[in-house]
Symmetry: C2
Subunit: 166 residues, 2 copies
């Protein structure tokens, strides 16, 4: 009965569903980054600055090395961006207490303001999408995205209702 060469109807549906998932990620990411990108432009900053401000804001006292691991860029690339943010007073660095080679990163008040400004449209967009989709859908969204993330270490960031800050 079944054609041994061609994919089953279920496989075709699965394949199509997966391809739609891939495309959904592209469109969602495109629109999710568009608004902050416009704001960044006004500061002469790029998306890289946003990423740094986001992660330093969320994980205060992060080291340069940890940031490099998360962003998966070279330290030369990071340093240009990070240096600008430090020189312009968005981020302060202080030496690690146990390991004085480390530079622990932290947002200044100005940095927090920028973070809130940049994340505002994203929070609005994602918040509205969550509200509209409903809690079970949000749970599904989280499950699938966690499944897409490669490293266990990165996934662990989402296990516990993360650090409340401010």
């Amino acid at each position: 009965m079944a054609d041994i060469k061609s994919p089953s109807a279920a496989d075709l549906a699965g394949e199509e569903l997966v391809r739609q998932g891939i495309e959904l990620l592209f469109f969602a990411y495109r629109d999710f980054t568009a608004e902050p990108d416009r704001i960044l432009d006004e500061y002469g900053f790029g998306r890289a600055h946003h990423r740094v401000v986001h992660f330093v804001g969320r994980y205060p006292h992060m080291t340069v090395g940890e940031l490099l691991e998360i962003l998966r860029i070279t330290k030369q690339s990071l340093n240009r961006v990070l240096g600008q943010l430090v020189r312009q007073g968005f981020i302060i660095q202080h030496r690690g207490l146990q390991d004085r080679r480390q530079r622990l990163l932290e947002l200044t008040e100005r940095g927090h303001q920028l973070e809130r400004l940049l994340s505002a449209p994203q929070r609005a967009r994602v918040g509205a999408a969550f509200k509209k989709a409903g809690a079970p859908a949000v749970e599904g969204f989280r499950k699938v995205l966690l499944g897409i993330i490669e490293s266990e270490e990165d996934r662990r960031r989402f296990e516990h209702p993360p650090p409340t800050r401010r």
Copy 2:
């Protein structure tokens, strides 16, 4: 009882959930693009080439203008990438029948091979995440991402089980 100035517990949970959603998108997108990026390197191509190959593969006979709208880049940027793909035999262009100004785009067999090669790790990754998360979670993932996408026109691409090709 309730402090009129500070956010409610529900708002805090919502805010934290949304911030996690934002971060999940970053990590998932980072890992979702990492593998094709490595393959593209071997061809001397970049992520832009992948996007073109993806959309031309998925929506054959797409015009240059439609591609520009989807990718939200300038025609000068597109043309460099598209020109390389055409010159190297991954894409063919033919004039529109009704409107002869249009250049309808299509993958060659070589283009289809490249598309499959590039999308293979993404299909594997997203497919595995879908399977592990289960059908209801996938439905939630779709709902939320659709809610994040700005334009009705883009969302409509996901209404009907899209064009089966090949």
